[in-house]
Amino acid sequence: MSFKDELQTLKTSFEGDLGSVADSDQLEALRVKYLGRKSGLQDVMRLLKDMSVDERKAAGQEANEAKRSMEIAVEAKDLELERVRLEGLATEEAVDITLPGIAPPVGHLHMTTTAIREIEAIFARLGFTRVRHPEVEWEWYAFETLRVGPDHPARDNWETFFIDAPTDDKKGKMVLTPHTTNGDVREMERGDLPIRMMNINKTYRRQSDVSHVPMFHQFEGLLIDEGVTVTDLKGLFDHFAKEYFGPEREIRLRPHHFRFTEPSFEVDISCGLCQGIGCRMCKDGWVELGGAGMLHPDVLRAGGVDPEKYSGLAFGWGLERTVSMRAGLNISDLRTMYSGDVRFLQQF
């Protein structure tokens, strides 16, 4: 066979083989077979050496052209194969997206921690700084300076926990504070005015049933400045209610009675379940949030603050109650919160 025929046969054969190439491995095998060092093209090229110079020149050129065209064909095929592969990703490389995920280790903050942070943040925006006053306290700060006299029922030993410790001549017995209000006079005694304090802490009362835990949390807000008014107190709670419970919620103040505030209020929020119409979870569309009031002049005096110049407002609310009212959690027994049951803890 002549050189030309050989070259033609090679090309024909190449084109035939190229047509049946289906993947990049086959394409590589094809490239080696036709263009590699031991390829069919090299065999044809060997025929050149027996030719005359002129013949060789023409044939060489032809051979190079053939090589070049085959290389281009291989590259084109390569691109085409890549295109087909990319087009087929959706099916060829599909994974089972219904298999369960492999999660990084995830833990859980207690719902009380989360609630404390949210409440702290809401009041921080109004300039209240969170502090911690003692949980174990003298009667002086827990009762005496708050106008809760020695005969008040709250100081009975069936209401308040007492600690086995010597009585202090001035400050009385050591108790577990039944409210975060114990921090109010302590804060005033620091001597810096005005005051915007938020005391979030554990508090203790001798009650244990489905809606009471003997250890619970309160958050106490204390604002003392010149010209603090009842309307300020109302505005503060309005702000809190809308921030914490939602902009559609309303508050109302009802007269109430606490020894350390005058006037004293019970703060209600419109029921989130019935939108204020009235349902089994509320009283005529309102739910009790907690107590508040304008600090009694005697309490200001006890903290060394002049009631003729300054006025103040204070509120101390149960955190657990506030949380459960927002979330509609229906925790049937509040004691579960502090039982350490992981089945409770790991839902938050």
Binding site: L126, R130, D192, V230, T231, L236, V342
Partner: protein, 801 residues
């Protein structure tokens, strides 16, 4: 305390046209919270007056009868009835099909025509409680309307015939306002809130009929304990005991009291209407015709009206006759001196008792009553006379009562109204709006305060009415009265103005929050355990209970210690959850309470991290150490571990104290097997305990920064075979001290087992070698040789390929 106030009764004193809903709402907003509005006739729709004509046995049931009842115009219906007190000719309340009643006083049902044991029944003959009136009539019997209705009422609605179209307010009053726990007090509140016009009995002098005749009986009152009984009024009346008229019974029923006889009913009536508790003794039962108010003697016995015997103690106030107690003052009367159908003469008592003494006594005896509930709030001595006057008036009317003695009125001293001052400008300054002076004065006047001008401009003298003796204690109390009557709902909301003060933050709180986030973000679950622990749990955990505080009056003995350590709770929590998923990684970050002499305890924030697994040992230790490392690395604290100074609850071979700059900041490691066993735990537990205030001292919150090197580090691996007793720390130190280029060592494999010689372990480490220039491989090789040579010569390490 909650009080039931019938709206109709209230309207006798507060003339009003306001409808019941609006009335209740306004009353609530001024501080008298109407918690419930009970419609009296809620169970009376389609309930009519009937008369029993015939009673036949039920053919299929022994306890049931077939009753033919006349219902209207001579028509009759047949009703199957189980009542035990029915008789022919009896007037009864018949609930017809469609009526909504409280079945057996409990389950609300709508009646239908039905068959009971095969016999048709057209409705129901009702017991009082099935119509919403608890405690009327015999326990299982139907309500006998005999004295309440007449023949022409047959077929008429019961609610109309008996006048039961009313609403009862269930009002919660704060404990400082006993005046509001009575009909007149609520009427006054309502009128002050502009709901009506007040006809106030307390603005007139109490009218107790004077007695000018000759004493018919020998009767005396003496008070030994005037501190505990500031006023005692006693009066003798001849009476005829019998049932009260329906109008009075009805009022009692609606206000939640059970009619008993006309004398007892009047005492209850006065308490409900005016808020003054009253008592009646059978005069014939009083030894010597005497009333002596004195302290009980230790060991004295007393049979109370509740038919129980009580042991009295010195200090309890009793009302005695010439020889024995006949009542515990203000708490409960005696069984033997009570009014019976045979009583002819009574001692009517209206008294005032010291609230503290009342509280102490009822708590000690565990004996409560409606009177005690009012007395322990504190009542005015002036109220007693009004109670006496009203009771006499009623007994004259309904018990043919005749006053047969002068009123014996023993009181501690003369009464003076309290006086305070109103400054309208200060009222406005505290509330935050402008309420004009006349309006302020008008509000106080409607509440019964008497206001007069003083010589000082803008200052008014305010005389407190006697019924507010206890709760009005200062000028500022008047502001509340004005504010609440103005209406809190009418006040605007303002955001407090003024400068925001700078206050030193509690920075440890920030650290605590960061640590909580770090742990909860890497697989740990936060626990909040009780501050109270079982002292036994403390001992089990090797914690000395004497470090903590003992609660004098715990709810239970296993909650008697304020915890000085988080360890006992954590072990208890693990024990409780041991067989639940999720117990593997827990933490708590809270305060403990460390006793200090002569001062409040040190309330200290502690961190307790726990890991639970089956195996324990080095792997468990490395995991708990890892939790320490993330915390220390966050705060750039270099620490060392020391096996010295471990306390008893820690495993002596698998635990260490955490030392920072010579200070112990905590402990980590496995819990001692004896402690684990004491809590009944089957798993192995590793704990990390950090004293956060101590650690905080060493934290670096603003770390120094070094530029990342632009020269690449050389990375080499090294595999070592070494004797078991040589610690990783020793190897690390040898490598570091013998190299100038080594920057970092990372352990990536640790093997012991059948593939290597026993008593040996195999370690593999990545080494980073670097300098402030690009290193040649010869330099790295030379340094590596120094490292390996030192390992071989110091620790007889075999370097593996």
């Amino acid at each position: 305390m909650n009080t039931l106030i019938p709206f109709s009764w209230l309207k006798e004193f507060c003339k009003t046209d306001v409808d019941v809903e609006a009335f209740a709402k306004r009353l609530s907003l001024v501080g008298n919270e109407v918690e419930r509005k009970i419609k009296v006739d809620r169970y009376l729709d389609k309930v009519i007056v009937g008369r029993i004509k015939e009673i036949d046995p039920h053919p299929n049931a022994d306890k049931l009868q077939l009753v033919i009842v006349e219902v209207n115009d001579g028509n009759t219906v047949k009703i199957v009835c189980g009542g035990t007190n029915i008789k022919g000719g009896q007037f009864v309340a018949v609930a017809l099909p469609g009526a909504f009643v409280a079945w057996h006083g409990d389950d609300e049902v709508t009646l239908k025509e039905t068959k009971i044991r095969g016999e048709e029944s057209f409705g129901m003959i009702c017991a009082a409680e099935e119509l919403g009136f608890q405690g009327l009539g015999p326990g299982t019997g139907i309500w006998d309307l005999e004295v309440l209705v007449k023949e022409s009422d047959i077929g008429m609605p019961v609610s109309e015939v008996l006048g039961l179209e009313d609403t009862i307010f269930d009002i919660e009053m704060t404990t400082n306002r006993p005046d509001g726990m009575a009909v007149v007090g609520q009427a006054r509140e309502a009128c002050a809130a502009a709901l009506g016009d007040m006809d106030d009995p307390f603005t007139k002098e109490p009218n107790i009929p004077s007695f000018n005749g000759e004493d018919k009986y020998v009767f005396s009152v003496s008070v030994d304990e005037q501190d505990l009984c500031p006023r005692y009024m006693g009066l003798l009346m001849d009476v005829e005991v019998g049932p009260s008229p329906w109008w009075l019974q009805k009022k009692l029923i609606l206000a939640g009291a059970k009619p008993i006889n006309n004398i007892v009913d009047v005492t209850n009536f006065v308490r409900i209407e005016l808020g003054q508790p009253m008592h009646a003794f059978d005069f014939q039962k009083l030894d010597g015709g005497k009333i002596v108010v004195r302290s009980a003697k230790n060991g004295e016995k007393f049979n109370a009206l509740d038919e129980k015997e009580y042991d009295l103690e010195d200090g309890m106030l009793v009302i005695a006759d010439g020889s024995k107690p006949v009542a515990v003052g203000g708490v409960m009367g005696g069984l033997d001196s009570g009014v019976t159908s045979d009583t002819k003469t009574i001692v009517l008592e209206a008294a005032t008792f010291e609230p503290l003494s009342i509280r102490g006594t009822w708590r000690a005896l565990n004996l409560q009553s409606d009177s005690q509930a009012l007395y322990e709030k504190g009542l005015s001595t002036e109220l007693a006379a009004y109670g006496m006057a009203r009771a006499v008036e009623l007994l004259q009317e309904i018990a043919n009562g005749k006053v047969v003695s002068s009123v014996k009125d023993v009181r501690r001293g003369e009464y003076m109204n309290k006086v305070f001052y109103l400054r309208p400008d200060k009222v406005n300054k505290l509330i935050g709006i402008e309420i004009d002076t006349d309006t302020q004065i008008g509000m106080l006047t409607r509440l019964g305060f008497a206001i007069s001008d003083t010589e000082e401009d803008g200052v008014h003298e305010v005389k407190v009415p006697f019924w507010r003796d206890m709760d009005i204690e200062a000028d500022v109390d008047l502001i509340e009265e004005i504010a609440r009557l103005y209406g809190y709902e009418n006040l605007p909301s303002t955001i407090p103005s003024g400068v925001i003060p700078r206050r030193d933050r509690d920075h440890l709180l920030d650290r605590e929050n960061e640590i909580k986030d770090m742990l909860s973000g890497s697989g740990w679950t936060e626990v909040y355990a009780n501050s109270f622990i079982d002292p036994e749990d403390a001992r089990r955990a090797g914690v000395d209970p004497a470090l903590g505080l003992t609660v004098v009056n715990p709810l239970a003995n296993d909650q008697a210690l304020m915890r000085p350590s988080l360890i006992p709770n954590m072990l208890r929590t693990i024990a409780d959850n041991e067989h639940r998923d999720g117990v593997e990684r827990l933490f708590e970050l809270q305060r403990v309470y460390l006793k200090r002499d002569g001062d409040l305890p040190d309330e200290r924030s502690m961190l307790m991290v726990a890991i639970v697994d089956d195996v324990g040992g080095e792997n468990l230790f490395r995991h708990i150490k890892g939790s320490l490392e993330i915390i220390m690395s966050k705060y750039h604290v270099a620490f060392e571990l020391s096996r010295n100074g471990l306390s008893g609850q820690w495993h002596p071979g698998r635990s260490a104290q955490i030392m920072v700059g010579g200070d112990a900041v905590g402990t980590l490691g496995e819990v001692h097997p004896i402690v684990v066993q004491a809590f009944g735990i089957e798993h192995k537990i590793a704990l990390l305990e950090i004293d956060l205030p101590e650690l905080e001292k060493h934290m670096k919150l603003d770390p120094s920064y070094s530029e990342p090197s632009e020269f690449p580090a050389a990375l080499r691996d090294l595999a070592l075979l070494v004797d078991e007793h040589i610690s990783y720390g020793e190897l690390e130190a040898t490598m570091m001290t013998n190299s100038t280029l080594l920057k970092k060592i990372e352990l990536f494999d640790l093997y012991r087992g059948s593939q290597i010689e026993s008593g040996k372990k195999s370690l593999a480490v990545h080494l980073d070698l670097a300098s402030s220039r690009t290193l040649t491989s010869e330099e790295v090789d030379a340094d590596m040789k120094k490292i390996t040579d030192a390992l071989i010569s110091t620790h007889s390490v075999v370097i593996r390929d």
